[in-house]
């Protein structure tokens, strides 16, 4: 099964996993890497390398980051390897929940774009949803 590493600024990664686990229970083969302001790139790289090793059972790893162009993403990108390590930026809770429940069925190559789409589709503006309810009249 595809492994999961979340790497982001501050404690975002750690908190994302904690919150997701609060909702769906323990998520196996899933670790976080926190990146703080005074961490050097070499140190971050080593931590990420260790994290990848910890969660990879041969089926590859999906690395989730907070923001393209940020240091966690930049360092994650250097590990990019087709079929083995993919990097998905702008991660959110819906993505992680979906990931936890759907990765048993899918290989990394399918899983990554699927989760990307899912994360994007699950960003909603409340008033847009309300205005789309059937039978609702526009005021």
């Amino acid at each position: 099964m595809v492994g999961i590493v979340i790497i982001a600024h501050g404690k975002y990664a750690e908190e994302l996993i904690q919150t997701a686990q609060f909702i769906v229970g323990k998520i196996e083969q899933c670790v976080s890497v926190n990146v703080f302001a005074n961490d050097g790139p070499e140190q971050i790289r080593k931590e990420l390398q260790r994290a990848l090793k910890d969660v990879d059972d041969g089926d590859g790893v999906l690395v989730l980051t907070d923001m393209f162009g940020g240091t966690p993403s930049n360092i994650a990108l250097s590990f990019l390897m087709e079929g083995k390590v993919e990097v998905l930026t702008g991660s959110n809770i819906p993505m992680i929940l979906k990931l936890a429940t759907s990765r048993k069925e899918m290989p990394l190559k399918e899983l990554a774009p699927f989760i990307k789409q899912y994360g994007q589709r699950n960003i909603s503006l409340a008033s847009e949803i309300l205005n789309q309810r059937p039978g609702k009249e526009k005021k």
Partner: protein, 157 residues
């Protein structure tokens, strides 16, 4: 001089630069003066993707910074020059660049360096270069993001 910001940052192009400095200073062109990044096609590609399309991005060897500014007529544009560390900054300045302030962003701790602020660690060589810059009437400020208060680096030694 149109160099609006001359910044020394181990992380070169990253969140603080893209999301804070560039928009707040209305940067129109970025010159990364760094031998290592100039050789690394992958890193250069990623940097180009991270920077929005309207901003011209040049990733060149450290001492090519002045030639780059001249060649692409960047005078008259608001330019950000990025350097990886203080020795590289010194090489860029020795190549003929004239600036009034050096901004120190992120200089991470490693063996032999002393942490003088949460984001800045310096060794003896760094300090002697900084003192030399100050003698040349260049201000050395520590400021991670534009809204932070500027501090004179050598005050913190």
């Amino acid at each position: 001089m149109s160099i609006v910001l001359f910044r020394v940052d181990n992380r070169l192009i990253h969140g603080q630069v893209i999301a804070s400095w560039v928009p707040q200073l209305e940067i129109e062109a970025i010159v990364v003066a760094d031998d290592e990044m100039a050789r690394d096609d992958f890193a250069a590609d990623m940097a180009r993707l991270a920077v929005s399309e309207e901003i011209d991005l040049y990733i060149v060897p450290t001492t090519e910074v002045t030639n780059t500014i001249e060649k692409y007529r960047l005078y008259g544009k608001r330019v950000l020059v990025l350097l990886r560390d203080i020795p590289e900054a010194s090489r860029a300045l020795a190549a003929g660049l004239r600036i009034s302030t050096i901004n120190l962003g992120n200089l991470h701790f490693s063996e032999g360096k002393r942490q003088i602020s949460p984001t800045i660690a310096l060794d003896e060589h760094d300090v002697s270069l900084l003192r030399r810059f100050e003698e040349q009437k260049i201000e050395i400020e520590i400021r991670s993001v534009p809204t932070e208060k500027s501090r004179r680096a050598l005050d913190l030694l």
